[in-house]
């Protein structure tokens, strides 16, 4: 078969026998992560409210779990795992660099505008 698939995930910890089996395995993994997110979102445990690097700990957990999901969708469903290094880096590094840059600038600016409203002399609540 011309289409070779790499069949292990979690750095070789879990190796599947066929591509179809791997797809179902990844689905189960993604479902578990979504379930964890939903449960945390409904329960909102108290420890999640503590601040960490300017954001609630719980929000950091949500964002990290989202990136984990995005990784497995791209790597296994979109077969990024099977592409050459060159193509993979062109797509992933470019996008990640530009997105991090934009997000950093906009969130920094948004926080600044909030501070001006909050501590400055502009009155918005009439």
């Amino acid at each position: 078969m011309a289409h070779e698939h790499k069949l292990e995930i979690f750095r070789g910890l879990l190796k599947f026998k066929s591509n179809t089996q791997k797809i179902w395995g990844v689905l189960i993994f993604l479902t578990i992560i979504t379930a964890i997110e939903v449960v945390l979102g409904i329960v909102k445990p108290g420890w999640g409210k503590s601040m960490f690097l300017g954001m609630k700990l719980l929000n950091w957990i949500f964002i990290i779990l989202t990136i984990v999901k995005a990784y497995y969708i791209t790597w296994d469903f979109m077969h990024m795992r099977d592409e050459t290094k060159g193509l993979r880096r062109m797509v992933v590094w470019t996008a990640i660099f530009l997105i991090l840059y934009l997000v950093f600038i906009l969130l920094q600016e948004g926080g600044y505008v909030f501070d001006v409203y909050d501590k400055g002399y502009i009155k918005r609540d009439f």
Binding site: L27, K69, L87, L102
Partner: protein, 326 residues
Amino acid sequence: MSTAVANTGTEGKAWDGGNEPLKASYGKMMMWFFIVSDALTFSGFLAAYGFSRFKFIDAWPIADEVFTHVPFFHGNYPMIYVAFMTFVLIMSSVTMVLAVDAGHHLNKSKVTIYMFLTIIGGIIFVGSQAWEWGTFIKGDFGAVQTKGGNILQFVDTEGNRVALRDFVVADAHAERTQHESKNGLWFIDEGALSSYTVAEVLHGLKSHENVLVRTQIINEEGEKTVLSRVESLKQIKENARLVVEGANLQVNEYGSPLFADFFFFITGFHGFHVFSGIVINIIIFFNVIVGTYERRKSYEMVEKVGLYWHFVDLVWVFVFTFFYLV
């Protein structure tokens, strides 16, 4: 990866495109580059949402209080329906990969079945999205907007939300007709009239001792601030200007109008992607049925639309996080 799709006659030559350093066909690579640019568009929108949210970090609506409905069920079920939608989209992604996999084995009947299931999943998702929009536009409890554009909602002494219809009585004698462009000044009209006027809300609040006003400001416990009885009456009497029911691009009973604007724009743009994905999937589905790829001995087209479809799923994963969870 040699396919029958692109045959340039330069195979094996080092130049003129005969060498494929990325081992991907032209079409697949272009799909990847399109996905990168589309991902940047979506991240621009989501980053702008983050900007507005950080700007109003102490007064942003709490998503758990906004999206609480499930079709055919009454009551308060935050997140459940969105979680279902997320699962539907991931599931349709799975059937899509299975279709691609069956394509690699040139198994026409399996590709057909899986493509069909993918399309069904997409339709369920778009339908759910439309329902979600409808619920959001229709609104739930109603609220009052102040002169400064802030939203005042109503709660009882235990902190449970109270709908306007539960304590406000519309005054039958003070009925006012909606001003339409055909009457009076030409081409000047007004939006739909709300069920109650501000004066009626004030009257209702005065006659119900247990109703309090809740402001947009989030306190240290991460909940919206509830005013005292005296403060509540004062706020409504002095600042209330407009009764708001539901959400649109101008007003939003759940809080900042920006929240509604971004919700409509980002989920709308994503829904449009899902819709176009369904259309493309249907085209490919019929191509599979008539045997186009069977004759070509290559199902690479299925793989390319598959990439697009997974991308739509990928975007939803982020929209889900930033609109409903964070």
